[in-house]
């Protein structure tokens, strides 16, 4: 789908995730999906046990093709967890990944209002409405490619710093290992025998 097509009148698909009982335990997901269906520009709204599962993602992909969706709202967990997952999902169906938006119904709703199903459901509807409102204004974006310096700075030359430096150096990267003491080794260099093997540490 070209960016131009995606800029046309928004056609939004909304996917409300149960996350097993993590969300559905407090939020009436069916009611939220039904509510979403009535929002402007929403073409299809569904609720699903696990949106991030393969069938869950396939459902979204199919809908994008079938209903010519050009915006997707996934109402599930935090975007800090699954935004990359669902961006990839919509991208696989030809939609620009920046046209996918998430509503956080788990970390910021069901889990923190677990004993107030009504209030949690009302909040979930608001969060979905807000996400749909936001998607209307979204536009396709293309990631920028920047060069990557193939070198690592390791700060601290204890056993952890040394191990990381060696692995990266063996992988062919340049490593700058910075240690504030006059020798590397850290705490381990001061130990005699070490558990659990009871052998020498250096």
């Amino acid at each position: 789908m070209s960016d131009d097509k995606q800029a046309l009148e928004p056609r939004v698909g909304v996917y409300v995730c149960h996350c097993g009982l993590n969300i559905a335990g407090a939020v009436d997901c069916a009611a939220v999906a039904e509510y979403a269906e009535g929002l402007d520009n929403v073409v299809v709204a569904r609720h699903d046990g696990y949106c991030c599962s393969e069938p869950g993602q396939n459902r979204i992909k199919e809908d994008i093709a079938q209903h010519r969706l050009n915006r997707v709202v996934v109402a599930s967990c935090s975007p800090r967890l699954h935004e990359p997952t669902f961006r990839q999902c919509v991208a696989a169906a030809g939609l620009n990944p920046y046209l996918m938006e998430m509503a956080n119904l788990r970390e910021q709703c069901s889990w923190v209002h677990s004993h107030e199903p009504q209030a949690a459901t009302a909040k979930a509807k608001d969060l979905v409405r807000s996400a749909v409102a936001r998607t209307r204004g979204l536009s396709a974006r293309h990631e920028i490619e920047v060069p990557m310096d193939q070198a690592t700075l390791v700060i601290g030359g204890g056993v952890a710093g040394i191990q990381a430096a060696l692995d990266l150096a063996d992988d062919g990267f340049k490593v700058f290992l910075v240690e504030k003491q006059p020798s590397i080794g850290g705490m381990m260099a001061r130990l005699d025998k070490t558990y659990p093997t009871m052998d020498c540490s250096i």
Binding site: N104, I144, A151, G172
Partner: protein, 607 residues
């Protein structure tokens, strides 16, 4: 260790500190200060001739001060690099009248008193933070008498004594009379697992370390009498239970209960421990010729320097906070920066090494393609709308905006340098900056949507992606409960929250508004949140002038680890919301309408 010194791809910079780090994933520039060693490390053969003639004698920190070293010394026999180092603070000086003996003595002439500190600049794509931990100093726990009694040691001091390369060539002796102790008592959890003193967390390694020490002592001195005083023994790792069982089979006695106090018998230098044995509920007295405090560990004293430089986040226990505690255990929240070892929390060698390899693999995976796609969240100036005031260029923490008043051309954003904080778009008086993926229109639509139905009941919260939004997620993961009428609007940085957004929320009937972001000093966009703070203060003054209660707009700094704080702030916001009456809300709408009319009129006359 030696492998790291030899590897052609590793540049070893010891006696060095990172002074500054600029840039972003793929393109970091670090300035490193390599302090003068005064010995050419590539020439020194570590023969030790210099130290033989050095007249200065100081306590050896590597041996916890249990032995001494010279002003020119090798930290320990297997040190890497294998070269001597001159401790310039204690050295008498090069001047021949004062000293200079070592330089005279060194045949290879590798001692150079004129050596200067060097500053290096390196360009790297990724960073691994492996700054480790430090051992708890038990001086403050006076009841154990660490500073008063010669025969009370820390576990690290015992490590040095029992070490064949240590100050006593592996002989464990009492410091009071240099005699081998016939009995040793270990006290666990010193500086750990206490809500009152020291640290509340378990230091992870001290139980196993004590078990190890009992086995070592029994091996050296089979007749030695050993007692371990503990709260509970944590031996959960692979092979750990086996060692614990062996320790008991060898005769070490485990007593459940921490001593309340340690006293010395002045005649013998022996120690008397009083302890409430929680297994028998009896108050007991135990005698030991030596006491070893199983001290815990804590983050290095100077950790904040690197933390602030890289804008990393810490947990409440002071160690670094990972991007996700289960799924991204070695990533920091900043792309391209990883954690390895005890920097992230107390752990043993095996776990440190595992984590280090994981961090290396994560870094490697990022660097391998040689290029990187960065999120397309960048600013763009609308040329026609730009009034050429230059404010955007001034506020951009990344110097990503070029502007030259004389050129007569509008400001221009360098897309590759723009990190996407949105501060420029928030500060631009002409609304001439389009913040991609977080446009004014998108955010306004969200504000309108959450306030559409029953605005008086709702608490709009602007939350930055890295800290306060993550803090809200953390509250969620911890299942903390807070009022359900809170509605978050996520921006990448609190710097993005334009004044207009807040006014709009009030115009739509919001009783209160919260702007939240990373703590000052922790901003993911260098110091963009300084502009947030200035802006909110500016708004408070305006509210005051207009006759609105300024406290209805709140500003809070909430880190990703502060779930508790997030919950508490939400509860406070709800109390605040309830303090806003219907009358006050009506009044607000009237005031803001009048203000809007005035501004519109002004604009018209200007036009």
């Amino acid at each position: 260790m030696a492998d790291a010194g030899r590897h052609p791809n590793i540049t070893l910079l010891t006696g060095s500190e990172v002074k500054s780090v600029k840039g972003y994933v793929g393109n970091f520039t670090a300035k490193i200060l390599k302090k003068a060693r005064f010995v050419h490390e590539d020439q020194c053969t570590a023969c030790g001739d210099c130290a033989e003639v050095c007249p200065v004698v100081v306590p050896d920190e590597f041996n916890e001060g249990l032995s001494s070293r010279r002003a020119i010394y090798q930290p320990f026999p297997q040190a890497v690099p294998s070269a001597y180092v001159l401790d310039i603070k204690n050295c008498l000086g090069h001047d021949p009248i004062k000293c200079g003996k070592c330089a005279e003595r060194c045949d290879k002439k590798c001692i150079d008193f004129d050596m200067k500190d060097e500053e290096l600049e390196v360009k790297v794509g990724t960073i691994v933070v492996a700054t480790g931990m430090e051992v708890y100093d038990p001086t403050v726990l006076d009841e154990y008498g660490y500073t008063r009694y010669a025969n009370v040691l820390t576990s690290l001091e015992l490590e040095r004594l029992i070490n064949a390369g240590g100050p006593t060539q592996g002989q464990v002796v009492r410091l009071s009379d240099r005699r081998r102790p016939r009995s040793v008592a270990f006290i666990q959890c010193v500086g750990s697992r206490s809500q009152k003193r020291g640290n509340p967390y378990c230091s992870n390694i001290c139980c196993m370390n004590t078990i190890k020490s009992t086995l070592q002592l029994k091996e050296h001195y089979p007749d030695i009498d050993l007692k371990v005083f503990y709260i509970d023994i944590r031996a959960f790792g692979k092979g750990f239970e086996d060692l614990y069982r062996r320790s008991r089979l060898e005769g070490a006695q485990y007593v459940r209960g921490l001593p309340g106090a340690v006293r010395e018998d002045p005649a013998t230098g022996d120690l008397i421990l009083t302890v409430e044995n929680t297994a028998t509920d009896k108050l007991e007295e135990h005698r030991a010729e030596m006491v070893v405090l199983a001290t815990g560990v804590h983050p290095p004293e100077e950790m904040h320097i690197v933390q602030e430089m890289l804008a990393l986040q810490k947990c409440s226990d002071g160690f670094y906070l990972e991007a996700h505690p289960k799924l991204q255990p070695v990533d920091s929240a900043t792309k391209g920066i990883f954690f390895a070892g005890c920097a992230e929390g107390p752990k043993d060698i095996k776990e440190s090494v595992t984590q280090a390899s994981a961090a290396a693999a994560r870094a490697s995976r990022l660097m391998s393609p040689g290029r990187l796609l960065v999120e397309a969240i960048t600013a763009e100036v609308h040329d026609e709308a730009c009034t050429m005031c230059g404010i955007c260029a001034k506020v951009c923490p990344y110097n990503a905006i070029s502007f030259d008043k004389k050129s007569g051309r509008p400001a221009k954003v360098n897309e590759a340098a723009c990190a996407g904080c949105g501060t420029c778009a928030a500060e631009c008086p002409a609304s001439a900056i389009h913040m991609h993926h977080f446009t004014d229109d998108q955010i306004n639509a969200q504000i309108d949507a959450i306030l559409e139905e029953d605005p008086h009941a709702v608490i709009p919260v602007f939350a930055c992606n890295w800290c306060s939004y993550a803090g809200a997620d953390f509250a969620g993961v911890s299942r903390m409960q807070y009022p359900a009428n809170t509605r978050l609007i996520r921006t990448m940085c609190s710097g993005r929250v334009r004044e207009d957004f807040v006014w709009r929320a009030f115009q739509r009937g919001a009783p209160v508004v919260l702007v939240s972001g990373c703590h000052i000093g922790d901003c993911h966009y260098i110091d963009a949140n300084h502009w947030t703070e200035k802006r909110v203060k500016r708004m408070w003054r305006k509210m005051e002038k207009l006759g609105l209660r300024p406290e209805r707009l709140q500003l809070e700094w909430i880190s990703a680890a502060e779930g508790v704080r997030f919950r508490d702030v939400m509860q406070r916001m709800e109390e605040l919301r309830q303090s806003v009456s219907a009358q006050e809300l009506a009044e607000t709408l009237r005031i803001l309408q009048e203000e809007a009319d005035r501004t519109a009129a002004k604009r018209e006359t200007a036009a």
